[in-house]
């Protein structure tokens, strides 16, 4: 074989790295061939292109986000299992230090940016327009761009595993460790460019949904009539808009350091690494609220529905959501109390961090008192919600303990911290996203996910969670630090680590049950023919499942909170059924392939800059600009659905009043 090819294979395809890379190469190849084969065999290419890739329909974009989030949950979870396997016994050689470092870096980055973020965007997209009585989001075309930026950024990030090498400076990626001098190679570039691209999409999503909620609510729906999930979206979007630019700046400057030789964060030539740490957490702390606030919204919807009771303390719930989003900007330095800020600074950030506990605690009490004197149905969404309360309460409690700055000197970067944030991020965010997925699944697909398999998943995942993470609190007190790829046998850490690993495996079984549950339910799941399978309270349950392309044939008028529930109580549900004479032509945005190509252009640019290939990088950027110009010159981007078509659709759905 030519030596040039061998060099290429070693440097970029990493053939010397061993079976894990070979296995991944083979798996990727087989999956790709499989997908191409299935699409060709069933003549689905056109369908894929017309119905999905070029769509600007918020419901379909939401479903695509959901699929990606679940796939990334699998990738991040597989990373976690590898990490826990390595730590199961002391002095283990299952992974080398280099591989371990790469895997915990990709685990953290993927779980936060490519799992949690698309998961909340999935629910925003699927739920918000339906809840507020809108036909789409404010900027459907921009919404598609956001999705494809996320998608191609995730592709770029995942590509690093098999082409050129994964990032290995941890998900926080502090310089100077992440600077060229200590971390050559493309891995860290992959991290920076993928985050930059997906970050642009996230900011756009934040703006999009804020505009949608403020400008496109159904007539009569005052702000204080909005469902709490929509309120939580408002809170999260505000945080996105103000926090994500800080990340964009931080990683842009670090990218300049690495690719163009500037010295923003280097040791030499006047760079200051501490500035990166500050900027990163100015985004990083609000980020955890970005992902947890929508989960709070889900819990609020689920609790009210399945306790068959109005949400308790609605105004308090809204106030606490908004308070959390404001306070979240004043706590970032608690991620580095030990960086040497003075006692005055540390005290300020310590007390501010504790303050977050107040509105959060209020929310927990309000959920409890929503259930109090209700009638609680133990469905899957409700199970996850109930499991969330103790998990988040304990995680929140250890969070307050961590906020006490001098005590944090003993917890910082130890397994106590690891246990804490997994408890709030899994117990808060993942439980919430799963609850939301189960809750709105029938609205997305027209069938329920199987209850029995879901319960197996629930119990495996929950028991596994406690077995995995409770020992880690103790390990923190025993002095074990995060990011150690191995540990000596005489530290007394062996048993607890082994238990923790077993817990991680049990959680994996839980995930497998979710996969089985989805596959089984596609065929055998209970069909939802009413559009209101849970006896819901808000507007989305007044629509058929799945909702027609245009959502509402006639935009409803809203007069109260829980409007659908009120109408059901008063026996007035027919008022929401459209009458043929009221139906007018519906104005809708046209599909477009450009968002897809724009994402692709960003991917090409990112890939070019990862490998310091300026011509490819700028070629990609030129593609981005071309897409922008083409859009600016486009005048014919909308159409009207004629009345007879709407009438026909509604008649088939049996909804004509």
């Amino acid at each position: 074989m030519p030596s040039g090819f061998m060099q290429f294979a070693d440097k970029y395809l990493m053939w010397k790295e061993g079976p894990m890379i070979w296995g991944s190469d083979v798996a990727i190849l087989l999956v790709s061939i499989g997908i191409v084969f299935v699409l060709t065999y069933f003549h689905k290419w056109k369908w894929l292109w017309r119905e999905w890739i070029t769509t600007v329909d918020h419901k379909k974009i939401g479903i695509m986000y959901l699929i990606c989030a679940l796939l990334m949950l699998f990738r991040g979870g597989a990373d976690a299992e590898l990490l826990r396997t390595q730590l199961a016994i002391p002095n283990n050689h299952f992974l080398s230090a280099e591989h371990y470092d790469q895997i915990f870096t990709t685990h953290g980055t993927i779980m936060i940016l490519f799992m949690a973020m698309p998961f909340i965007f999935a629910l925003f997209n699927i739920v918000v327009p339906l809840q507020i009585g809108a036909r789409d989001v404010a900027f459907p075309y921009l919404n598609a761009i956001s999705f494809w930026l996320f998608f191609f950024a995730a592709m770029l990030f995942n590509l690093s595993f098999v082409f050129g090498g994964s990032p290995d400076a941890s998900w926080v990626s502090y310089p100077p460790l992440s600077e060229l001098g200590f971390d050559p190679g493309p891995g860290e570039n992959y991290y920076l460019l993928a985050l930059q691209i997906t970050g642009i999409g996230s900011i756009a999503t934040g703006i999009n949904f804020l505009a949608t909620i403020f400008k496109m609510r159904a007539p009569g729906m005052k702000l204080m009539h909005m469902p709490l999930f929509t309120w939580s979206t408002v809170a999260a979007c505000v945080v996105i808009i103000f926090a994500f630019p800080a990340l964009a700046i931080a990683i842009a400057l670090l990218t300049l350091d690495r690719i163009f030789g500037t010295h923003f964060f280097t040791i030499l030539h006047g760079g200051n690494p501490m500035m990166f740490v500050n900027l990163f957490w100015v985004w990083g702390h609000p980020e955890v609220y970005i992902v947890v606030l929508p989960a709070f919204g889900v819990y609020s919807e689920v609790v009210a529905t399945f306790a068959r009771k109005r949400i308790f303390g609605y105004s308090s719930m809204v106030a606490s959501l908004m308070l959390i989003s404001v306070i979240s900007y004043f706590v970032w330095a608690h991620h580095f109390f030990t960086m040497g800020a003075g006692a005055d600074v540390n005290t300020f950030f310590a007390v501010a961090s504790m303050l977050v506990g107040i509105p959060t605690g209020v929310k927990v009490f309000n959920w409890l008192f929503t259930m109090y004197r209700g009638r609680i149905r133990m469905t899957l969404p409700m199970l996850w919600t109930i499991a969330f309360v103790p998990c988040f309460a304990i995680g929140g409690a250890t969070g307050i303990m961590l906020a006490a700055a001098p005590a944090d000197y003993q917890y910082h970067n130890s397994y106590f911290l690891i246990a804490h944030f997994h408890q709030v991020l899994i117990g808060g965010v993942v439980f919430g996203m799963l609850a939301g997925m189960y809750y709105w699944w029938p609205k997305m697909f027209g069938f329920k996910l199987d209850e029995r398999l879901g319960r197996w998943a629930f119990w495996f995942f929950n028991i596994g969670f406690y077995v995995c993470f409770m020992p880690q609190y103790a390990l923190g007190f025993m002095g074990m630090q995060r990011r150690m790829y191995t540990y000596p046998a005489d530290m007394g850490w062996n048993t607890l680590n082994l238990i923790s690993t077993i817990g991680a495996y049990i959680m994996a079984i839980g995930f497998v049950f979710i996969v089985i549950q989805v596959l089984y339910s596609v065929k055998y799941g209970e069909r939802d023919l009413t559009g209101d399978p849970w006896d819901g309270r808000t507007l989305e349950w007044s629509l058929p499942s799945p909702a027609p392309h245009y959502n509402f044939a006639v935009i409803p008028t809203v007069t109260s909170r829980d409007v659908w529930w009120e109408l059901k109580e008063q026996g007035r549900t027919d008022e929401l059924k459209p009458k043929a004479e009221d139906i007018k032509p519906i104005h809708m945005p046209k599909n477009s392939a450009r968002p897809f190509f724009m994402g692709l252009a960003f991917f090409v640019a990112g890939f070019g800059f990862v490998f310091d290939s300026m011509w490819l990088g700028f070629l990609g950027l030129a593609g981005v600009v071309a897409c922008l110009i083409a859009r600016a010159l486009e005048y014919n981007d909308d159409y009207h659905i004629p009345v007879h078509e709407v009438v026909e659709t509604e008649a088939t759905l049996g909804r004509l009043g």
Binding site: P176, Y314, T338, M339, V362, P390, G396, M401
Partner: protein, 339 residues
Amino acid sequence: MKTGHSPRRAKSLTFLSAALLVLFATGCGRQYMVLDPAGPVGREELHLIVMSAILVGIVIIPVLILLFYIVWRYRDKPGNTAPYTPKWSESKGLEVVWWGIPIVIVGVLGAFTAKTTFALTKPPAESADVTPITIQVTSLDWKWLFQYPGQGIATVNYAEIPTGVPIQFELTSDAPMNSFWVPQLGGQEYTMPGMAMRLWLEADKAGTYYGHGANFTGAGFAHMDFNVIATSDSNFEAWVKQVKASSPALTKAGYAQLKEPSVIGTKSYSSFPPGLFNGTIWADGGQYMPNMMNQTGSPLKAGIHTNSTGVGSGDSMSGMSNMTNMSAMSATGTSSSQK
């Protein structure tokens, strides 16, 4: 300020430790280092840990009990006679209670936190009359260098200290940022290139205490452990004498070799190049922070003039742990006069 060990305080500490013992059925053995402090700093921190655990417990234990009660009592089973009030959704009284309780708890814990935070920036109060010892710590890839400016010796990956004497650790890094942590003596602090941070620790019992880097620095990070060995004053003096008599000197070339990424065992040196610690800080970015250089009050005035750049501004650069000064530095950073 801390008032030392009043009997009442000691009693409450005993009680709280007993509570933690119950929490960890395995007991606070040598393994639970954070819960088994060997010095005043670690004890102060443990006190805050226990205190905060109890305060948050006051909230979450009732929450957990309430949750189980409510879920059981109001489950949707035929024949459940519990009241059902689907429209009851407001109660000013109840809401005042659960806005109020967390506010009180955060107030109490916040006050304790502030008090401890300020107390720990000073040497431990118990030994206020004892002359402190300074140890300069440099984190390297992937090892720890300890320099004793008062004694003129240096070690790698272990440090001896006398018991009952406050130790001022001055921390820097000549590699990516790390964190210096000896759990049984007290909490950690970052080591950062281009600046010196100050951390007060003290051991009041003789023993060997495990220490480790706590901030990830790459492939050899997991092997960055070291021991801090606390012995009596006389043993410490004897050890210093012995190191001076029997160990090689650390030369500039030797330091350059140490700086190369590697994982090694322990080493002792009878001397080190003058101004090595400050010179390292200077070269790694300290030169861009003239305000920091001008800080006074360091117990140490090592020969900055011998540093490699030859620029001699500020011969007393040392322990700086004040954010206001740091931001001042970065503001004026690049305008400093340098070659």
